[in-house]
Amino acid sequence: MDDFVLRALAAGCGIAALAGPLGSFVVWRRMAYFGDTLSHSALLGVTLGFLLGVNPMIGVMAVCVALALALVALQRRRTLAADTLLGILSHGSLSLGLVALAFLETLRIDLMAYLFGDILSVTMTDLGWIYGGGVVALAGLALLWRRLLAVTVDEDLARVEGMPVDALRLAFMLLIALVIAVAMKVVGILLITSLLIIPAAAARRFARNPESMALLASVLGVVAVVGGLMASLNWDLPGGPSVVVAAAALFLIGSVVPMRE
């Protein structure tokens, strides 16, 4: 197998393993659209990264966090529903990213690669970011696991029990921002959320506790990555979308498999 294929597999599997537990939380907390909004803002982060001469992933992280904080502040005012706010921020930031990119005439970046991913061009540096960031994110998630579950079940009860609810929510947003930053190269900013939620949703029917759902979501994600990538190589299909199609196919198969009670 060629090196670039091995790197693509390693990158995809790393992201899928990371996306399993975090995506499960996105599903439990009903934050799919929130994840979408954050990832749409990533393009602006990439542009800022180039402008300031720092790694685009740092730019993505910074913009994601800024957007998450802006959203929390806007929600406090309660003048608009959450989905409207998310729509404004999501499309506003994506368009701002596209406009900012057009201004940078000297910058030649492959827009399609950022929007839909370019898994076959993953470098060793990218792999370092994916696995480094992944280990940090998973360690953070493991540390906060019980408390994040409690906050997910009921914020008031968590508060009465003395948990720092706002800090936990912010920590979760940071973890999502980290995943978006490292996954952008593989599936692209328009498809990242699907890698978070589809494997987790597919795993739900077969899970008896939160941990088994998270683990199964990782496994299904890895299967989707391997399957999608193989299909992409065989039939010369775009990598990111093939992975997402494979994940969606797994979800469909999973929802019609008869279950023994």
């Binding site: 599903v27 019980r146 079940v153 008031d156 029990e161 949703a201 939160p210």
Partner: protein, 260 residues
């Protein structure tokens, strides 16, 4: 106006001239209530009277706009909310639900489920149990903190009449065995009169408080709750005075319409 009884020990939790406003609306207006160890204090009042807001202020979930809420130092509080639904996507057994809030040994979870009368539900998914069963599970959860103060927000709401009687018997049992103070919000006057040490009738301000037997003999109690008040589970709140925008009492009363 103070509602602390002079003979009792220091209260577990008490409010001092507590006011809460949401937007321009005054929900609680100069409220003083206290809960002492081992006593059951029940909040009654019409919808929108601020019962839940008062409970949430006592729990620290709502910030007072005036006055304050004071607690005994390091007070352990067990809170049983009105209702709780867990998202269907989260696979969670009752046992696991109880373990989320603090690290507890499995044996204590079993004991709390036993005490709340729902030991058989330990391995059921939280989404599959009935409203009444969930209330018991929430009671078990509140007991896990070994509370000195139990705060129960309308524990009778999701439960049928039979379930209510059983639930209140459980709560009574908990009070007797643990000696904790209980702050209760209830719609059910019948239960209130049978199981409560003190009743606080709230309508933005405290308009009535005292021991239930005294309150029920008081002529103004009948003015408040109607002639068949004791038989009524759902009651209409009648006032012999009116309130202006700020919920201040605008006629001759000083805010107290009856005293026990």
């Amino acid at each position: 106006m103070s509602i602390t009884s002079p003979s009792s020990p220091a209260p577990l939790v008490w409010t001092e001239d507590l006011s809460v406003r949401f937007g321009g609306r005054t929900v609680l207006n100069h409220v003083d209530v206290a809960v002492h160890p081992g006593e059951v204090v029940t909040l009654i009042g019409p919808n929108g009277a601020g019962k839940t807001t008062l409970v949430r202020a006592v729990l620290g979930l709502v910030r007072p706009t005036g006055g304050r809420v004071r607690r005994r130092e390091a007070l352990r509080v067990g809170y049983m909310p009105q209702r709780l639904t867990v998202d269907a996507t989260l696979p969670l057994t009752v046992r696991r639900f109880l373990a989320l809030w603090r690290p507890v040994p499995a044996a204590r979870i079993e004991a709390a489920l036993e005490e709340a009368g729902v030991a058989r539900l330990a391995d059921a998914a939280v989404q599959t149990i009935s409203g009444g069963e969930m209330q018991r599970v929430l009671l078990a959860r509140a007991l896990l903190s070994d509370p000195e103060l139990l705060v129960l927000d309308e524990p009778d709401q999701a439960v049928d009449v039979h379930g209510q009687a059983e639930l209140f018997a459980r709560i009574e049992h908990v009070r007797r065995h643990r000696g904790c103070g209980i702050l209760l919000v209830s719609h059910d006057l019948h239960t209130v009169m049978a199981r409560t040490d003190r009743v606080v009738c709230l309508n933005g301000h405290v308009c009535c408080h005292g021991r239930p037997e005294d309150v029920s003999r008081h002529p103004e109690y009948h003015a408040l709750f109607g002639r068949h008040a004791a038989e009524l589970a759902v009651y209409l709140h009648h006032h012999d005075h009116s309130h202006d925008e700020a919920r201040r009492v605008v006629d001759g009363h000083d805010g107290d319409c009856c005293h026990g």
